[in-house]
Every structure is written in structure tokens, then in C-alpha cells.
């Protein structure tokens, strides 16, 4: 039981889909943006840990990662941002998302300890499939942090069993084969896949990769997803127009998601 579990239970009771926002730590005024996201309508926040080689990301998030690194952001700095956020926001779940190497280099046990202290609720490691995440998953489980796994259009029923095993918090359904920020999958296919993943894992399913507009988010929300994730579009808005522009987009998407479900 952590903030993710309680949040998804509350969303279910409210009979609506949640809205998950992704931003990159260290790209722009991250601390201010983080602080304002819950009020703008974010139910869950994913905080990107920048990495030099983000091979599952499209151009928007790749560029954000390099900007963040150029600004001097590190994993330690990302954890400090989480800590600062948690001090003011006791209830909003915070999930770190990124790639394995910085976490591996930090040391899995050390990372689990530091993340727990910073009030982190979950971790998505894009290049750590179930076959490779045992050591980290166990370290995180000991401090009540969920490993959030990915399911994709190529994940067949056999693999869904593997994905379900040891998964907690929610499952991140990647709506299309491809990288972040490209077009989303066809809505009917996504709705069907969401049902399949929900049934196989018994966990809430958040749908992301390629959801950019309030309309698209609403479509996904009304298609049975437990939550909708928007990343690249917010990251781009933040880069192009700053915190205020990003928050406006978040508010509009949040309103659409709430109205849809």
C-alpha cells in the first residue's frame, strides 16, 4: 500500500480516469513546475531522470534530457527535487522514470534508500525488463516503492504473465510501437489492449506514448484506461513557453480527462 494504490483506489471510487503528467528533472524551472502540477490537475507525477542515451524516447524528451544534463542535473539532484516536492505535497504520488545506468551506478540498495527518503512511490526503468529487474525490484519492495512495468502492443499473453509477476502500482501501457511523442495507437486497439492488460495483471493501466492533446487524452480516458499519461507535449510546452504554458496545457488536458470519464 503506497500513494499509488490509494490514488488509484480513489480514482476508481470517483469513477474517473487519472491524469499522469511527465516532466524532465532539470529542464526549466522544474521545482516550481512540480509544485504547481497537483493544483493544475495532475493525479500522478512522473519525474524524468535525465540520461545521455534515452533510446526509447523521441526528439522532445531526448532534447529535454540533454538540456537537463547541460544544466547540471544528476540523479542526486533529481532525488532532491522529489524530496522538496514531497515536503509540500504529502498525497500526490511521484514516480521516477528513466534508464537503468544512472540507477545502477548509484547502487540499487543506495538508490532504494535515497528514493524512499525522498518520498518516491514508484520507478519506471525503460531498459530494465522483468528478466533483468529482480535485484532492483527487491530493493525497492523492501521500502514500499513499486516497480512499474511496461506493456506494449508486442507484449503477447504469455509475456503479460511475466510482466504481471512482481509488478505493482500500475502498468504503463505503451499505446504504440515506437518512441515517446510519436502518434498514438488506434483508439479501438488501445481500448482492447487496456482490457487485456487489466485482466492479466489485476493492476490499474495507464496509457502513454503519443498522447498529446486534450481530445486524445479524453479518448483514451473514455476507452477504459485507468489513467492517461502525457509527456512529450508537456515537455515541449514547458520548453517553448515556460512553466505557465506547460501548466495551461496540463489544466486543459486534466479538464478533458475529467469530463470524459
Amino acid at each position: 500500500m503506497n500513494r499509488l494504490t490509494t490514488t488509484f483506489a480513489r480514482l476508481k471510487a470517483d469513477n474517473r480516469a487519472g491524469f499522469v503528467t511527465y516532466i524532465m528533472a532539470g529542464d526549466g524551472e522544474t521545482a516550481d513546475l512540480l509544485d504547481a502540477l497537483p493544483a493544475a490537475g495532475a493525479d500522478v507525477i512522473e519525474l524524468g531522470m535525465p540520461f545521455t542515451d534515452p533510446m526509447a524516447d523521441g526528439p522532445a524528451i531526448q532534447a529535454a534530457a540533454l538540456r537537463a544534463l547541460d544544466n547540471g542535473m544528476t540523479l542526486r539532484g533529481t532525488l532532491a527535487l522529489a524530496n522538496q516536492f514531497r515536503a509540500k505535497h504529502p498525497d500526490t504520488p511521484l514516480v521516477l522514470m528513466g534508464y537503468a545506468n544512472p540507477v545502477h551506478h548509484f547502487g540499487y540498495a543506495n538508490f532504494a534508500k535515497a528514493a524512499a527518503k525522498a518520498g518516491v512511490d514508484g520507478l519506471i526503468c525503460v531498459d530494465l525488463p522483468p528478466e533483468e529487474d529482480t535485484e532492483l525490484r527487491e530493493a525497492l519492495a523492501a521500502v514500499n516503492i513499486s516497480i512499474i512495468r511496461l506493456a506494449t502492443p508486442t507484449t503477447n499473453d504469455d509475456r503479460l504473465k511475466t510482466v504481471a509477476e512482481g509488478s505493482s502500482g500500475f502498468v504503463y501501457y505503451v499505446s504504440t510501437t515506437g518512441v515517446t511523442g510519436m502518434g498514438k495507437g488506434a483508439v479501438t486497439d488501445v481500448a482492447e489492449a487496456v482490457k487485456r492488460v487489466q485482466t492479466a495483471t489485476g493492476l490499474p493501466v495507464a496509457v502513454g506514448f503519443g498522447v498529446r492533446t486534450p481530445e486524445e487524452a479524453a479518448e483514451i480516458a473514455s476507452g477504459g484506461a485507468d489513467a492517461v499519461v502525457v509527456g512529450s507535449a508537456i515537455v515541449s510546452a514547458n520548453h517553448d513557453g515556460g512553466t505557465k504554458t506547460a501548466l495551461e496545457l496540463v489544466s486543459r488536458i486534466s479538464a478533458a480527462v475529467r469530463a470524459a470519464s
Binding site: 542515451d53 526509447a56 526528439p59 545506468n101 531498459d127 508486442t154 510501437t177 518512441v179
Partner: protein
Amino acid sequence: MTVKPNAFSQYPDAQGRFGEFGGRYVAETLMPNILALEKAYEDARADPAFTAEFEDFLKHYVGRPSPLYFAERLTGHFGGAQIWLKRDELNHTGAHKINNCLGQVLLAKRMGKTRIIAETGAGQHGVATATVAARFGLPCEVFMGATDVKRQAPNVFRMKLLGAKVHAVTSGRGTLKDAMNEALRDWVTYPDETFYVIGTVAGPHPYPMMVRDFQSVIGREAREQMLERIGRLPDAAVACIGGGSNAMGLFHPFLEDEDVRLIGVEAAGKGLDTPDHAASLNGGEPGILHGNRTYLLQDADGQIIEGHSISAGLDYPGIGPEHAFLHDVKRAEYVSATDDEALEMFQLCSKLEGIIPALEPAHSLARVRDLAMELGPDGIILMNMCGRGDKDVPQVARMLGVEV
């Protein structure tokens, strides 16, 4: 030869691990592909017809076996052990790369894949992949860092002549590792129809094993040729290392010959005591990149650092996981050579043997020189001349201040 239970050659295990290195660190979208590839490769290598076709093309298309040549003048010049060169620079397309491309493209065909992609640094692997794809009539797209596209214009033109489409990669810093990231992104986007031909013994399992197996023809031939020519095995087998495919291909058939020292030569660039080198084992730490756990050049935050070497073929911040394993268990020794040493050997080998080596094996020659002195006249050194230097002539001319 029977394999002992604790044999070095028994790896990888079922999880694709060489000791604590290797594995399958890829996004979920690719996991089903990786598992299917593993199964298809296991089937293929158990099928005599696949092996027969591979060997037939190696012989008549690539030009194998490559000769084993006694480098008499280099031997005399260094004044120590005998130096024998495995002439893989005589292969079609001028390097060892094509052995692996041929194997992988045959496998792609067998799996019914309709599209070939590859990453390339200097362009040698790109050219070899485009060559084999052309031969089998498969469309081929090559990802190459934008900086390299500019530096290696002749190879870009070669790939285009061979019918391949070359993507100049501007994401990240536009280098080989970014080209590999971009190839992985493409593969994630078109997983069903695409076969990704990785150019070295790195990447997620089964690539490090599969590429090694295809390249092991180098060591198998050399081992036989040594026995035939001088009736004994060498005291040392030496090869240069970027990702490590030519070295792994040379080393693997000798792994159980414990009297044969295996020596890998990394690129020390401007020196191991500077930030400008590409020596992952001598100057890196274990980490996770491009699908495998191995030694990587990285900073205190676990961010990947660009490698530097005069030779674009060695300029990669990682190394194949089997080398990481052989390093840790001390079955192989890993040393390094600088840009300046490579440049010196490039010229020396050209003058003394009439063989213009690629800058990559020119690194090996620098350590062969020391080793020849160490072993003395009774010693035998086998070195893989893994590529020819034609591709490097414009760059070397520039560095020597000559206009061509």
C-alpha cells in the same frame, strides 16, 4: 574437443550472461523480438543447411579462408618473436565485418524479415551490411552519426551505390552511440518486419553470442593454419578492440588453449590519463547500455562519456560483455595503444610489409612490438589484421600534413 565443466567457452548461460555481464536490457517492445531472434538463431545454427550456405558464401563471396602470413620484415625490424598476420583485411569489403553481416542477413532471410537496418561509425559495418543486403535483395537503412557522415563521405557514397539509405543521425551528440540509439528507436517502431544487424559483439542477448559465432571463423581458420604451417599454436593471439568483434572472433577458438595468451588492444586515444580515450576496460566501470551490462565509459552520475580515438572503428564507449567477463576472470589481457602509436605503426607496416593496415589493427601492432621483445626469437605471435587502411588514407594524409 570436449568442453570442461568450468570451460571459458561455455558462456553465455540461458539468460545471455557471461558471468555477471551481458543480459537483455531492452525496452519491453523489443523483448518479444529478442526472444524470437534467440530461438531463430538456435534453430539456424543446429541446421546443417544454414551452416553450409553460410560457409559457401564465406568461401565464394567473402573470399575465405583468409591467408595466414608470416610478416618476416616486421619480425626482423622488431627483432623478437615471429609475427604472423591473419589477413582478414583481404576479405570482400576490406575487413572482418562482412563475416558477421553475412551470417545475420542469412538469418534475417530465414526469419522472413523484409527490411535490414544497421548502425555504423566509420562506415565499415554499414558498407558490409549494405553489401550483403544488396546481394540478397533486401532494402537496407543505415544509421550514422551526422559528424561521421561528413567525415566519411566516401563510405556514405559506397553505401548509397549499394542501394542503402543512409540516415544522418543528429540526435544526441551525433556519434556512433547515438547512431545505435537511433537504430534501436527504429527497431522499436517497426519491430515486426525489421532485422537489426548489430556490428559488434555487444547489444542484448543473443547478439554478443551470435556475432561471436559468426566471427569465430577467424580464430578457427587461424588455429588450423598455425598447426599446419608451424606445427604449434601461437604463444599469444592479439587483436584490437572497439566493441570487440574481431578480437572475440579470434579469441574464442583459443579460449580452452590455456597456453595461448589472448591480448586485446584498446584505443588509448591521447592517453589513458586524459579524458580523450576509448578504453572501456582500462578506463571504465560496469554499467548498462545498449542492451547489455558491461564496462562503459561513464561519469560519476552514470552518464555515458563519448569515446575518443583516431580510429572511428574503436570510438565506442562500451565493449562486448564477453570481453568484460574474460577481463574479470583474467583469461584475456587488455592493454592499449595511443593515437600516435597507431599512426606510427600505420606507416611502418606499410613500408615494411607492403600492407596498409586500417588504423584499428595499427593499434595492435604497437603492442605486438612490445610483445615480440618480451617473448624473444622463440616466440610466436598471431595478430588479426582485421581491416585494410584504404579508408584511412585521406585522414592519415591530413594528419601528416599532406594534401591528397
